[in-house]
């Protein structure tokens, strides 16, 4: 038997081709070679449009040369395959290189269909599929004012949004009488149209373009069959996709009548050694234009190659998406074409909501749905449809605005086969299995099943199923903060606010029991500070603060503290820098520039802190809250003042933001950054609040995180003016302060928040909960009542008394010893201490 590795050649490195590589690389004994026609490796086409809102090609990349090297995959870019020799089992690329295969996998995807309109080859007539296309569109848009998208389907509308974002006056030209004809019924399409027109995109339906010629005011003029015309500078064709099956046709693999490489349930083509997966494959006379079915095909093909028996048996084409800020969802038989089926419709014109469900002839099963303007019921409707769950007696209750109890679908009702995450094809059964293997929270379920790591749309459902399963196993998902309060942090926040409680003692007396502990005390202190913003070392509050807060410094391993003056935006005058240097020298403090663009002085004894701070405050500095669960730093770059690429004054904005939010106590620390342009030197996308300058204002990113589990921030809003930017941040942060669990960064908070980013957008942008005025007011109160805690502290005799090592002596702690390293101090290690570690008064009971 031949033991040489079997050669797998993959043609195309799109999303599906890459997924196949990832699957295949898990198995030993295969040599994988990837041939990509594009000049780069796979990237996330689904989120392609985000390229226009600040994501770079690197952000969108799904793999990298380093990764392929690491997993031992050979790859070639700019390597378009032009020839297949089935008999010799070889493929040849444009440049003449030849690769032998044992198994060949076609993952060539599809290309945009451009209708044969005379003039379609003109300049600035483009398509929307690759990063290169987007670069071209951007260049064309710069030169023009008006843009037209030909095609009013899902992708066409996404392209229209892009043109609009690029600042063009945008039109959509559609051949059919309605928009999104595949997914929506007539009424849903009509509502979507009026919503889209409402934001200034003009829609022209039933228009067939006859020709494109020179325009008078714009570059082109499109002449339509009905005699009308439209002038435009840029034209994007988005009139459907066509599978890249040219190789199959040429080299004699069976293709469908209307295109597509025919595959069977194993994703095998008519040649036993050749597979086809993704958008180039035709299964059961159907091409799936979505990524999830492609991923399933990739898995099936890989499994088949290693001798497994997985089968591809079709995929659900339901979709939920946000188009130009509008919610649209479509499930199954949206057009009610099934014989004998019945529909229920809810339509609310003033609020621009349209919902329809289609039920089976016997009224027991959900077979289709259309949701426009409000997709909050999508998840639960989809589960009914996919799993054939019996409908409640009055199914219309599922889509009517809640007048009392809404029949919600308990996760218990879902069968094990129910798909929870469609991107990664994870079922409820998979989740149950992960929990049975020891996963005890959503994070662990995620990492062992991959659920939720695609589009993220399933996060809420995933959490529900996981929590429910854990509860069933007796794992208590208690939200009580600790044994002293039978409330979550959020509930305590509401209590403090509603009852105007200003001290921990009162809170404990009215709503708690016992004396409190190191969990509820700092949490309460933080809530009290967020709501009332009193001096945190008021006698009532001292005993609640975490150590770092009690002495307004970070305690180091030897019991000394660090000193970090605020340095807004990282800006510092030479004079202040000199004072910092003098202080460091005088007190012999270890000095270091931090990762947060400021200076940290380490090794100050508790009794030295007040004098050190006095010097700094006298020189015009204030506390940097390096110790607090509060705003830390606003990282910045120099911006337009100095940098030749700068779009806005990022320095000034960073300082403004740091000054505004300094001192805001929150569930966890908060970090900001402001970059002056998309080069992102301030790394704003890794911060809780990230701001990136654009030509027209600021793009706002939220809930990024560095640290233990890095998370890229989500783009929340674009091209904001200063005022709106601050409003949005006020609302976003205050809502976080109100609702997050203790010690939860904005990243984790958002990921666990039901409704996620879309929900936050509704709240912050549309005032969905009607609380924005209140959130802003609360923030303004924090801003108005700001005080430098160190300044207040050094001015109080009473406070200063606490800053001493001993109540009965001026001696200093003899256990603190330093040695010198690289010309500065550092804590002595045990073996370096002159007098040895003073392990005093400790009884070590033998274990």
């Amino acid at each position: 038997m031949n033991t040489a590795p079997r050669k797998i050649v993959v043609v195309g490195n799109g999303m599906v081709g890459h997924h196949f590589v990832d699957e295949m690389a898990k198995h030993e004994g295969y040599e994988i070679t990837v041939l990509s026609a594009e000049d780069r490796l796979a990237y996330d086409r689904v989120h392609l449009s985000e390229y226009f809102s600040g994501k770079t090609a690197e952000d969108l990349a799904m793999t990298s040369p380093a990764y392929y090297n690491e997993i031992g995959v050979n790859f070639f870019t700019n390597a378009k395959v032009t020839h297949i020799d089935k008999a010799a089992k070889e493929v040849t690329t444009e440049s003449g290189e030849t690769y032998a295969y044992d198994k060949l996998v076609m993952a060539t995807g599809s290309y945009p269909f451009v209708p044969p309109i005379p003039g379609k080859e003109r300049e600035h007539c483009l398509v929307y599929r690759t990063i290169q296309d987007l670069d071209d569109i951007q260049a064309s848009a710069k030169a023009g004012k008006v843009g037209v998208v030909v095609g009013g389907g899902l992708l066409g509308l996404e392209a229209a949004n892009a043109l609009k974002e690029l600042g063009l006056q945008t039109h959509v030209v559609e051949f059919a009488p309605q928009l999104m004809g595949v997914q929506l019924d007539t009424d849903g399409g009509a509502l979507l149209r009026s919503m889209i027109e409402g934001i200034g995109v003009q829609v022209h339906t039933q228009k067939a373009t006859n020709e494109i010629v020179d325009g008078e005011e714009c570059v082109h003029r499109m002449n339509f069959a009905d005699g009308s015309h439209l002038e435009t500078d840029v034209i994007l064709f988005s009139a459907g996709i066509r599978p890249y099956d040219n190789l199959a046709r040429e080299f004699d693999l069976t293709v469908g009548e209307r295109g597509g490489i025919v595959v069977d349930n194993n994703c095998k083509t008519s040649d036993d050694s050749i597979y086809a997966i993704g958008e180039c494959a035709l299964w059961n006379n159907f091409i799936f234009g979505l990524v999830a079915p492609g991923y399933t095909m990739a898995k099936v093909a890989a499994d088949n190659i290693i001798g497994g028996e997985q089968q591809f048996t079709g995929a659900d084409m339901s979709t939920k998406l946000k188009l130009m800020g509008m919610d649209v969802g479509s499930i199954g038989d949206a057009h009610a074409r099934t014989e004998g089926c019945k529909s229920y419709v809810y339509s609310n014109q003033p609020d621009q909501i349209y919902k329809k469900i289609v039920v089976s002839p016997n009224g027991k099963e959900l077979i289709g749905a259309v949701l426009v303007g409000d997709t909050s019921e999508y998840d639960s409707l989809l589960q009914y449809a996919l799993n054939g769950i019996e409908l409640p007696e009055n199914p219309d209750g599922l889509i009517l605005p809640s007048s009392g109890e809404k029949p919600t679908l308990g996760v218990d009702a879902l069968p094990d086969t129910a798909t929870i995450c469609s991107c990664l094809n994870v079922t409820k059964g998979d989740i149950v299995a992960a929990i049975d293997c020891g996963a005890v929270d959503v994070g662990q379920v995620k990492s062992s099943t991959q659920a939720g790591t695609g589009c993220g749309g399933c996060a809420a459902l995933l959490k529900k199923v996981t929590d429910h399963e854990l509860e069933k196993r007796g794992v208590e998902i208690s939200t009580d903060i600790c044994e002293h309060f039978a409330y979550s942090r959020v509930e305590l926040f509401h209590i403090v606010q509603a009852e105007q409680i200003k001290s921990f003692d009162l809170l404990l007396e009215k709503h708690g029991s016992g004396l409190g502990c190191e969990i509820c005390k700092p949490a309460a202190a933080s809530i009290l500070a967020s709501v009332w913003n009193d001096y945190i070392l008021k006698p009532d509050h001292v005993s609640l603060q975490d150590t770092n807060d009690i002495f307004l410094g970070n305690m180091q391993k030897d019991g000394t503290y660090s000193v970090v003056p605020r340095m807004p935006g990282g800006e510092v005058t030479p004079d202040k820098l000199i004072v910092i240097g003098e202080v460091a020298k005088e007190y012999n403090l270890y000095t270091k520039v931090t990762g947060g663009q400021r200076i940290d002085l380490f090794g100050a004894r508790v009794d030295q802190l007040p004098a050190i701070w006095k010097r700094l405050i006298d020189a015009g500095m204030e506390t940097g809250h390096a110790y607090g669960k509060s705003l830390r730093t606003v990282k910045s770059c120099v911006g337009s003042t100095w940098c030749r690429y700068g779009q806005q004054d990022s320095m000034a904005m960073a300082i403004l933001l740091e000054d505004r939010y300094k001192g805001l106590r929150s569930p966890h620390k908060i970090k900001f950054a402001v970059s002056g342009c998309t080069r992102e030197c301030a790394e704003a996308q890794s911060k809780d609040i990230g701001v990136i300058a654009t030509e027209n204002g600021w793009n706002l990113y939220v809930s990024g995180n560095g640290g233990m589990k890095p998370r890229h921030g989500d783009l929340f809003a674009t091209d904001l003016d200063d005022e709106t930017l601050i409003k949005y941040i006020d609302r976003y942060l205050m809502f976080y302060v109100r609702t997050a669990d203790r010690l939860t960064r904005t990243s984790v908070w958002l990921e666990n928040l039901e409704g996620g980013l879309a929900y936050m957008e509704k709240i912050v942008k549309d005032d969905h909960l009607g609380i924005n005025a209140e959130l802003e007011k609360q923030m303004q109160n924090v801003v108005d009542t700001y005080q430098c805690e160190w300044k207040t502290t050094i001015e109080s005799e009473e406070q200063l008394k606490r800053f001493r090592q001993f109540v009965n002596s001026d001696a200093i702690d003899s256990n603190i010893e330093f040695v010198t390293e690289r010309e500065q101090i550092r804590p002595a290690k045990d073996e370096e201490k002159k007098y040895g570690v003073k392990i005093q008064a400790v009884d070590l009971t033998p274990a």
Partner: protein, 111 residues
């Protein structure tokens, strides 16, 4: 080595901080963390954190679980019962406790 114990005057009771700690230095250089819990209960334990190996316990937070009062170390949060010195998180460790009394508003420690 003398093992003789005597009552040492430390400070006025008004120097204590309610529900929080201060630190006293005994004649033999031992450091004692003093906590006033509620209005009148006073505890005295060693100030040395045997896990972090630093003199910091008086700066810890006071907590209570099922009626037992403890201090949580400010370094790595291990909890020590104030009445017995037993570590709640690892009973191999017990820190020394001291007796206290109040004479004419002056706090004294038996050390």
């Amino acid at each position: 080595m003398t093992t003789e114990h005597s009552w040492q005057p430390i400070c006025s009771t008004s120097d204590l901080i309610k529900n929080s700690g201060v630190c006293a230095l005994l004649a033999n250089q031992e450091q004692v963390a003093l906590f006033q819990v509620g209005n009148d209960k006073i505890y005295a334990v060693s100030n040395f954190d045997p896990f972090g190996k630093a003199n910091v316990l008086y700066r810890g937070l006071i907590g209570e679980t099922k009626g037992d009062v403890y201090v949580a170390s400010p370094l790595l949060k291990q909890r020590f019962m104030l009445s017995s010195g037993v570590c709640l998180d690892d009973d191999a460790y017990t820190i020394k406790t001291y007796e206290t009394r109040i004479t004419d508003g002056e706090l004294e420690i038996l050390g």
